[in-house]
């Protein structure tokens, strides 16, 4: 079966899909302001006509490509394509300015690919046993785990658990819109037949992530316009060498470990991973004073962790069906579009697809290396594209994505509403990650809760026979208390800080 799955991932169509995803991801990642989640949100409508394997591999390839591509703009422009590459810019830009832009880019690329491949291998070895255990869970356990994941994400993704919970609450309410699965009665549809199937995920995702981001980017144009990229020229001494490789290898291994750990925890994004890895690399270095002045280890630490987070975030997704970040949440939506329930059931019902996706992820890593190595000059040119040119085009594709799905003007109005909501959430620091994850997992949460209530006939004592469910309920309460305390302490520290 595994051989057939690998063969499936190596067919011409699959290779075109994966390669196309990585290439598109690279191009989008290189453009500052266009993040991974924006790329996936815009690309989901393109995957409708693809087979499930090609669609998912395309999106994962896209995700990996954006992570690697964002390092290019961080190094050449000092403007990271996304927040997780900000740590890369600390050493990447000074190294590029000192006349070694190619070395900086190659160090970033090697670290990205190595971190990505190692984390993918860890994913394969961890997710499957995880899913096997999760298959033994009943609705009580799943409901408790989902509640725990939501609280965890609310507390960690934004820093303020109360704002996170408020965003999550809104996501849950919007996630219940549509026909009630038990009674078949319309719920919160306000008489609109278009809402019978629920709030359209594509409109919610593109509005909250992509369109709102374009509004924020256009607002920024008022204050910052000109960008000056470091020129990439052919120089004999400007390339990665064996001594540099030897120096960065331990950093890459450490960064991959940190990135994998951070990625596997729901709610902690790649930014946490890359900064944590950078901090540790500086701490253990014999020459910490060189960090921030063009130290290749700094680039390797940040990039390896950033790229390791992507496959690692799929551990809770494939193992338990819990999306730990926005990209994973969007993948759940993409799976749902193809009629596939992601999570442990995927291992039971469609193991070939799961193994093919894993094989496709390794193929995507190889594409990443090839495209990154030979396409450096092209991607360096893309950094010169000014943001004011990108914004109208992305907005056009946002509108096109909705119309292509046949949602019509109603879909566009919904899109606009969610763009406004996403804009306000980002402005006022409400976790849109929690909102989106809550919106996507609500049907699953409700299903498990309903099954638990029906099976238990309202008897709470049945939980005494379900120690795992009780454990996660206690974890949820403990996380709630600890994270709330942390938020309150954090605000007290800000208030008492000198100069405030």
């Amino acid at each position: 079966m595994i051989g057939a799955s690998i063969q499936e991932a190596l067919t011409l169509n699959a290779l075109i899909g994966i390669g196309g995803g990585v290439f598109m991801g690279y191009v989008i990642g290189v453009i500052p302001g266009l993040s991974r989640s924006v790329a996936i949100a815009i690309a989901i409508p393109l995957t409708f006509y693809m087979s499930p394997l090609i669609a998912i591999s395309f999106l994962i390839g896209l995700s990996k490509g954006t992570a690697a591509g964002s390092a290019v703009s961080a190094i050449l422009l000092n403007a990271p394509g996304e927040a997780s590459s900000a740590a890369t810019a600390l050493d990447g830009y000074p190294l590029a300015k000192s006349g070694k832009p190619k070395t900086a880019l190659q160090v970033g690329l090697v670290a990205s690919v190595a971190g990505d491949i190692m984390a993918t291998i860890i994913l394969i070895f961890v997710a499957i046993p995880f899913a096997r255990v999760a298959l033994m869970f009943g609705p009580y356990e799943m409901a408790a785990i989902l509640a725990f994941a939501l609280v965890f994400i609310a507390g960690l993704s934004g820093g303020n658990i109360f704002k996170g919970l408020a965003a999550g609450g809104l996501g849950i309410i919007l996630g219940t819109i549509g026909l009630d699965p038990q009674t078949g009665l319309p719920r919160l549809t306000f008489g609109y037949t278009q809402l019978m199937d629920g709030m359209p995920l594509i409109a919610v995702a593109i509005g909250t992530l992509a369109l709102s981001e374009m509004f924020i980017q256009s607002e920024k144009l008022r204050y910052e316009r000109e960008t000056m990229a470091v020129k990439l020229e052919h120089r004999a001494d400007d390339h990665i060498t064996v001594p540099i490789m030897r120096r960065i290898m331990p950093t890459i291994l450490r960064g991959t470990g940190i990135g994998t750990f951070v990625g596997a925890l729901p709610g902690l994004g790649p930014s946490v991973g890359s900064w944590m890895s950078y901090g540790v690399a500086q701490k253990v270095s014999r020459t910490p004073e060189k960090f921030g002045k063009g130290e290749p280890q700094g680039i390797a630490a940040s990039e390896s962790a950033d790229n390791a987070v992507i496959p690692a975030a799929l551990i809770p997704l494939f193992g338990l069906g819990i999306p730990g970040n926005v990209s994973a949440a969007l993948l759940v939506g993409a799976f749902a579009i193809h009629g596939i329930t992601v999570g442990p059931l995927l291992l039971r019902d469609e193991p070939e697809l799961l193994y093919s996706i894993f094989a496709g992820m390794i193929v995507a890593s190889i594409f990443m290396l090839i495209l990154g190595w030979f396409g450096l000059m092209i991607f360096a040119q893309i950094t010169r594209v000014p943001p004011h040119v990108v914004i109208p085009i992305v907005i056009f594709f946002c509108l096109g994505g909705i119309l292509l799905q046949g949602y019509g003007t109603f879909g566009l109005v919904i899109l606009m509403g969610f763009a406004l909501l996403g804009y306000l959430m980002k402005k006022y620091d409400y976790s849109f990650v929690t909102f989106l994850v809550a919106f996507i997992i609500t049907p699953m949460l409700e299903l498990n809760l309903r099954q638990s209530i029906i099976l238990s006939r309202g008897e709470w004592s049945i939980l005494l026979d379900r120690p795992i469910a009780v454990f996660f309920i206690l974890c949820t309460l403990a996380a709630l208390v600890i994270l709330a305390q942390r938020t309150l302490q954090g605000s007290r520290q800000i208030e008492t800080a000198p100069g405030e």
């Binding site: 704002k163 919160l188 109208p392 509108l399 046949g406 606009m416 309903r450």
Partner: protein, 150 residues
């Protein structure tokens, strides 16, 4: 920051109260026979929003009192607000236009208009950026129609 938390918390409370008192009772449906009533999950979520909103507002008030701030400020720059608001208005108008015209027909002028408003004046950039995306979308939609997806 505290002022923003205060006002955004008030909006969260307002929405939660609206949901608890009108949206959910009126539109979530009621079924006494169902073992799990259809309004249970939306109700729990609305309560979660209400409690969180109250805490956000209280923290905002405490922060404002400590910092000696007032809930309202005169430090609003109308030009900055207008600059932030025009893209919303532009896309709003675009949606009205797209209600009557196809995106492949109106897309080019819409991109062109926004590029001009954002300050782009180079003719080759204006032409390329407003034509190429439309051709790409047209090609994609034709392909999707051929394979029978749309």
């Amino acid at each position: 920051m505290q002022r923003q938390s205060f006002w955004s918390g008030l909006i969260v409370i307002a929405f939660a109260l609206l949901a608890l008192n009108w949206l959910i009772p009126e539109y979530a449906g009621v079924n006494p026979q169902a073992q799990m009533p259809p309004e249970l999950v939306p109700n729990l979520a609305a309560w979660l929003m209400l409690i969180s909103g109250i805490i956000i507002v209280l923290r905002g008030i405490v922060g404002m009192v400590r910092a000696g701030q007032l809930p309202l400020t005169r430090e609003i720059n109308p030009r900055a607000v207008a600059w932030a608001a025009w893209p919303f208005a532009y896309v709003g108008v675009a949606i009205i236009v797209l209600d009557s015209f196809k995106l492949t027909h109106a897309g080019g002028p819409l991109i062109l208009g926004m590029l001009l408003l954002l300050g782009e004046r180079r003719w080759y950039v204006l032409l390329g950026c407003s034509v190429v995306p439309v051709i790409l979308l047209y090609g994609l939609s034709v392909h999707l129609m051929r394979v029978g997806v749309i």
